[in-house]
């Protein structure tokens, strides 16, 4: 540990004097990644590494806040007070995850406003899974079990990501996601063991969410645009297909315990591989939803932009108040803005 700390101290920093050649910076960065050390905000890093992280963290943050919508859709209709409390807490957690992640992106020099602007103008994406609608109460369970389950499978390895602030945010997020996954499973179990109508509602939800959940791991490895470089940088630790397989292997026995079936006739245990085989994924649907043609793309983005636009006067008021009441040069600068606005 002492050695690692010493090396970290010796690592050139982005804002330090340019005492070394860029080639030295690159060598020290590469060595740190190779040694499984964490890259920290003030360390030098290649521009492409920074850009990849910003893109990935932003997409993740956007997914958290857009992902609030399909579940918030059921807060006002939750069928018991206990379920209502759980669902509100879960949606609140997602807002909190959004906050950690935007903060992690900020350590790379990109602020929340800029990222939100890119989300609102369609220049940055969020996970396509949230472009599917939550049609019944059971969808809340299916999202918890399958969507959060897939997210955890993707995210647990990110706790060891080479970029420190992202990795640390993920530790906390994964703990909460695991609670979300369990509540989804438990919600579906109650429905599955409930009345015939409740059981049918649970099965219908699983039928609709299963394939989109498998698509959450991204395109097959041979078509994945960013994977190889991200793995070399230890931002990503496992390939899309590996993670997808891991998820399928976890879900099959869980579906059995739930008393629900997964909508794939090809799902069979392969003794030789030690994994479940599963049927072909309809990638044309994935690309279509990604391009904006999913059932809710328009609705999700419109609601997000409306909330942001309708909240503008509140944020402006808070800034104007801070400028009036904090004093100092910075405040004076803000005050000018406030006066212009008034």
């Amino acid at each position: 540990m002492a050695t690692a700390a010493a090396q970290r101290t010796a690592r050139p920093q982005a804002d330090g004097a340019a005492a070394r050649e860029p080639a030295d910076y690159q060598r020290v960065f590469d060595a740190a990644v190779a040694a499984d050390e964490r890259i920290e905000p003030r360390d030098w890093m290649p521009d492409a590494y920074r850009a990849t992280l910003v893109r990935q963290i932003a997409q993740h943050a956007h997914s958290e806040i857009i992902g609030m919508q399909p579940e918030a859709n059921w807060i006002t209709r939750a069928p018991s007070l206990r379920r209502k409390a759980i669902l509100m807490a879960k949606v609140q957690d997602e807002a909190g995850h959004g906050l950690y992640l935007y903060s992690a992106a900020e350590t790379l020099g990109t602020g929340r406003d800029e990222l939100l602007d890119k989300l609102h103008s369609g220049r940055q994406k969020y996970s396509s899974i949230f472009n599917y609608p939550t049609l019944t109460w059971a969808d809340v369970g299916a999202i918890g079990w399958l969507v959060d389950g897939a997210a955890i499978t993707n995210q647990v390895p990110l706790c060891r990501c080479s970029y420190g602030p992202y990795a640390r945010a993920m530790v906390r997020i994964c703990k909460e996601e695991s609670f979300h996954q369990r509540q989804g499973y438990e919600l579906l179990l109650a429905l599955s063991k409930g009345t015939p109508e409740q059981h049918a509602m649970a099965q219908d939800a699983v039928d609709r969410w299963w394939w989109p959940s498998l698509m959450m791991f991204g395109p097959p490895d041979d078509e994945s645009q960013h994977s190889a470089q991200s793995m070399a940088w230890k931002i990503k630790r496992h390939s899309n297909d590996e993670l997808r397989q891991r998820f399928v292997d976890i879900c099959v026995p869980q579906a059995e315990s739930l008393g629900l079936t997964l909508p794939d006739p090809d799902l069979t245990w392969n003794e030789e591989r030690g994994h479940y085989d599963f049927g072909p994924i309809d990638w044309s649907e994935f690309w279509d939803v990604l391009k904006g043609n999913g059932p809710c793309n328009e609705q999700r983005l419109t609601q997000r932009k409306r909330a942001h636009d309708e909240g503008a006067w509140v944020r402006e008021a808070a800034a104007a108040y801070a400028a009036k009441h904090t004093g100092g040069a910075e405040a004076a600068a803000h005050e000018t803005t406030g006066a212009e606005r008034a």
């Binding site: 918030a72 209709r77 007070l81 609140q92 409306r306 309708e310 402006e316």
Partner: protein, 243 residues
């Protein structure tokens, strides 16, 4: 239960306090995904969750929490009309929060000190509500003393909800509270916050055309029926089901 308090909580009082918390929690829950900033998504959900927790304890003192929440008709709810008012813009939500949380804070402090059947709940709630009140106060200051637009929105919101504030001080059977004293402390506190926010205390009557205490008697405003229709629909669609 303490030795000095009555042996059981008054059902009337448990329903009045429980319905206030339940209904306001529901309204705040409607903000999810619509708040003006991510920090407010967290804060409003936090307040909604505190209130829902209080509602569950209180309704359980009066019967089965889910039966009471999901199977009563509009006329059987005993909440104040103030808490059922639609969210409106963020200023309306904040005005509703300041009016109500100031009342709830004073009331729970008194109930906690009184040692009656509501004292254990009130002792916990008073800490939560202190935060709710602070949140509403901080936003009132920022919006009142922020921009011209925010000042005007905040002024309108406080004025619009003023007529629902008189009802809070109608005595509730089973609560041993000095209501006139509570009212004067409430007025003093709200006046002080509005003053610091460069807002004036609204003028006009503090009760609507209906007699004061209407919500407590099961007389509600039109938006409340639609709120309940949404809240109760799924539960009522599956009679006897467990969730």
């Amino acid at each position: 239960m303490t030795a000095t308090g009555p042996a059981t909580a008054s059902v009337t009082a448990a329903l009045a306090l429980g319905d206030d918390a339940l209904v306001l929690s529901h309204r705040l829950g409607e903000w999810a995904g619509h708040a003006p900033a991510l920090e407010e998504e967290v804060a409003l959900a936090n307040i909604a969750l505190d209130l829902l927790g209080q509602a569950r304890v209180l309704l359980s003192l009066a019967g089965d929490e889910d039966e009471l929440a999901y199977l009563r008709e509009e006329r059987a709810f005993r909440n104040l009309q103030l808490v059922e008012q639609p969210n409106g813009d963020f200023a309306h939500t904040i005005a509703r929060q300041l009016y109500f949380s100031t009342y709830q804070h004073l009331l729970h402090a008194e109930l906690a000190a009184g040692g009656g059947p509501f004292a254990p709940l009130a002792a916990k709630a008073v800490k939560e509500v202190a935060y709710h009140r602070d949140h509403a106060e901080q936003w009132t200051l920022r919006l009142g003393d922020g921009t011209e637009t925010s000042h005007e929105r905040m002024r309108r919101a406080y004025a619009a909800l003023w007529r629902y504030t008189g009802e809070m001080f109608q005595p509730v059977e089973g609560l041993d509270v000095d209501w006139p004293a509570l009212e004067s402390r409430w007025l003093e506190s709200v006046t002080e916050v509005l003053g610091r926010a460069t807002l004036s205390v609204p003028e006009g009557p503090r009760t609507g055309a209906w007699s004061a205490g209407a919500g407590r008697q099961g007389i509600h405003t039109e938006p409340f029926g639609r709120m309940l229709a949404e809240m109760q629909h799924l539960h009522r669609s599956h009679p006897g089901a467990s969730w």
